[in-house]
Amino acid sequence: MKTLVTVKRVPDPETTIRVKPDGSGIVTDNIKYVINPFDEIAIEEALRIKEKQGGGEVVLVSIGGKSVTEQLRTGLAMGADRAILVLCEQPLDSLAVAKLLTKLVEKETPELVLMGKQAIDDDSNQAGQMLAALLEWPQATFASKIDFAADQKSATVIREVDGGLETIGFALPAIITTDLRLNEPRYASLPGIMKARKKEIKEIPVADLGADITPRLTVVKMAPPPKKEAGKKVETVQALLDLLHTEAKVI
């Protein structure tokens, strides 16, 4: 099975994020970047599918500047076969991303597109759904388990929903977005890293894809969350109840 996996370069979740004083974005100096953790889960799943089926191809795709090569190389070191980087310096909203991915899917004709359910930087959780709509393909979001029929023409996905687990079945090709508990991604092994040096990262200028990526959304302002204030110690239960009632106004 040929699987296309999307990879987004995002700030390391361990990094302390600071918002620029003018609220136009975050301070990017000295930030370490990683593969979006949900995308890393998608890569791992694609590799497991390939290993289980004993064949197929795992193609990584990303959109961004040259620096994204670093994340694609990591994915190749984990075991993906090749990568495509759409060179684009301008910020993109989810719809623009979905439109560019549509073009790539038309070129690559995969049986499956695996995507992180959301990127941990903007938390939009939209690109997968929009891509499915544009392609008119089935979608299974927030997958925590994926199984394929023996003929590889259909799949079932278990999704963790509020009330419990939902199992859905659908025909391929399809879009699946990955949730946290789907798998635990492997480390890139040293032999994998050495092999990845020779794997292809094909660069495509964004204009060559001919998609309308005019932004529909603009970021008006970014603001850091309010600083947490120190708690209070109270002597009695009654005092706590009084404060919850009069000050916090929650009871």
């Binding site: 190389r73 990591t74 890139a188 092994s189 040293l190 032999p191 890293i193 050495m194 990845a196």
Partner: protein
């Protein structure tokens, strides 16, 4: 003159794959090793599952060519792995260090193709290696070894005892040195690959050590151990050369271990200094503590430049005997000094096992001892400009 600058990158500038590898080992160390460091130290054991994970990560066959399943990477990669592992646990680091800079390093250089095909796939997959040179009466005076190898038909029969063998408990393959002709003195010394399950071979007691407690240091007992002639490393009688030249690379590895240890101790002290409050403010705000931290960071920087330069010197094919002795000599001092100062930054709690400082301090001491004491390093350095 842009060409001049182009050809002279900073020593600490890593290639893309080196950077990726270092980050991967760091993350592995943080998530897979860190939570178990004190438990492993207490129990004096490296869990087999961790060793298996090290094999999966590919850090046990760094320089072994890809045709045998190794990573086919360079020496600096091994150094980066040792440094990053030591930053979290110097015990794990030395296991990887011995495998790569001593055992694999010697075997890559001295084995014939048939032997490589026999041993390398095991060394990259699951076989831990150990380097068995020292004996109870033959430490710094390595060539005074008493273990003998007597030729008998198609094999050698080995008798004797080896001491202080790192990885002794976990190893399956031992690069072991014995004298095949005592009348020739050191020119009788020969290297053998000895398998753990050879009849007559046994692993003796594990030493109860001050530091790097999770790493095993064992006695090896050879009682009429029959080793096939095909397991001779290089040729009969050149073991002294195999042993001594291998240690030149090994010493850079120990330098990297001490560097990583110092880095780990420093980072722990820095984090604590920012958090610990006395006299109404974080102790990191006191100039005395700042100066201590600054001194530690400076020493670490110097040690790192030395380790990386010596590793790159080795990669370039130039002579590095003097530099590797200097690297181990200096880095073991930095390791001990930084670990000691870091403990002092912690104050009273640094003396307890609730914080990492005391373990780094205990682990540092071995740096001045194994793979040639500091005195031996100084002697090696002096000989490079004074001769014998």
């Amino acid at each position: 003159m842009p060409e001049l600058y182009d050809s002279c990158l900073p020593l600490t500038t890593l290639r893309e794959e080196e950077q990726l590898f270092r980050d991967t080992v760091r993350e592995f160390a943080e998530t897979r090793i860190k939570p178990h460091v004190m438990e492993m130290d207490r129990e004096g054991k490296l869990p087999r599952e961790l060793i298996d994970d090290l094999f999966r990560l590919g850090v046990m066959g760094i320089e072994i060519p890809a045709i045998y399943g190794g990573a086919g990477a360079n020496f600096l990669m091994a150094i980066l792995a040792i440094e990053e592992l030591a930053r979290v646990d110097p015990s794990v680091a030395v296991c990887v260090d011995v495998q790569n800079t001593l055992v694999n390093n010697a075997l890559v250089r001295w084995l014939n193709p048939e032997q490589k095909a026999r041993f390398f796939p095991r060394l990259v997959r699951n076989a831990v290696g150990a380097y068995a040179l020292s004996e109870s009466a033959s430490g710094s005076d390595a060539f005074a070894m008493q273990t003998q190898a007597r030729l008998d038909g198609d094999s050698f029969v080995l008798n004797g005892r080896k001491m202080w063998i790192t990885n002794g408990a976990e190893a399956e393959l031992y690069l072991l040195f014995a004298n095949a002709d005592m009348t020739k003195g050191y020119k009788g010394i020969t290297g053998f690959v000895v398998e753990r399950d050879f009849p007559g071979f046994s692993v003796g007691k594990k030493e109860d050590t001050l530091g790097i407690r999770a790493s095993s240091t064992c006695e090896l007992i050879l009682d009429d151990v029959r080793v096939p002639r095909e397991n001779v490393v290089g040729e009969v009688g050149i073991g002294y050369k195999v042993a001594i030249e291998t240690l030149d690379e090994g010493r850079i590895g120990i330098g990297a271990q001490m560097l990583g240890l110092a880095q780990g101790a420093f980072e722990a002290a820095l984090a604590y200094a920012k958090e610990r409050k006395q006299f109404g403010k974080a102790i990191a705000e006191f100039q005395a503590v700042q100066f201590q931290l600054a001194e530690m960071a400076t020493e670490i920087e110097a040690a790192r430049l030395m380790v990386y330069n010596t590793a790159r010197l080795k990669e370039s094919g130039a002579s590095f005997v003097r530099q590797s002795a200097m690297t181990k000599y200096f880095c073991s001092q930095v390791g001990e000094r930084v670990a000691s100062q870091a403990l002092e930054v912690f104050g009273g709690v640094g003396f307890t096992k609730d914080y990492p400082a005391e373990k780094f301090y205990r682990d540092a001491k071995i740096g001045k001892i194994y793979e040639g004491t500091s005195n031996i390093q100084l002697q090696t350095i002096a000989r490079t400009f004074l001769g014998r």
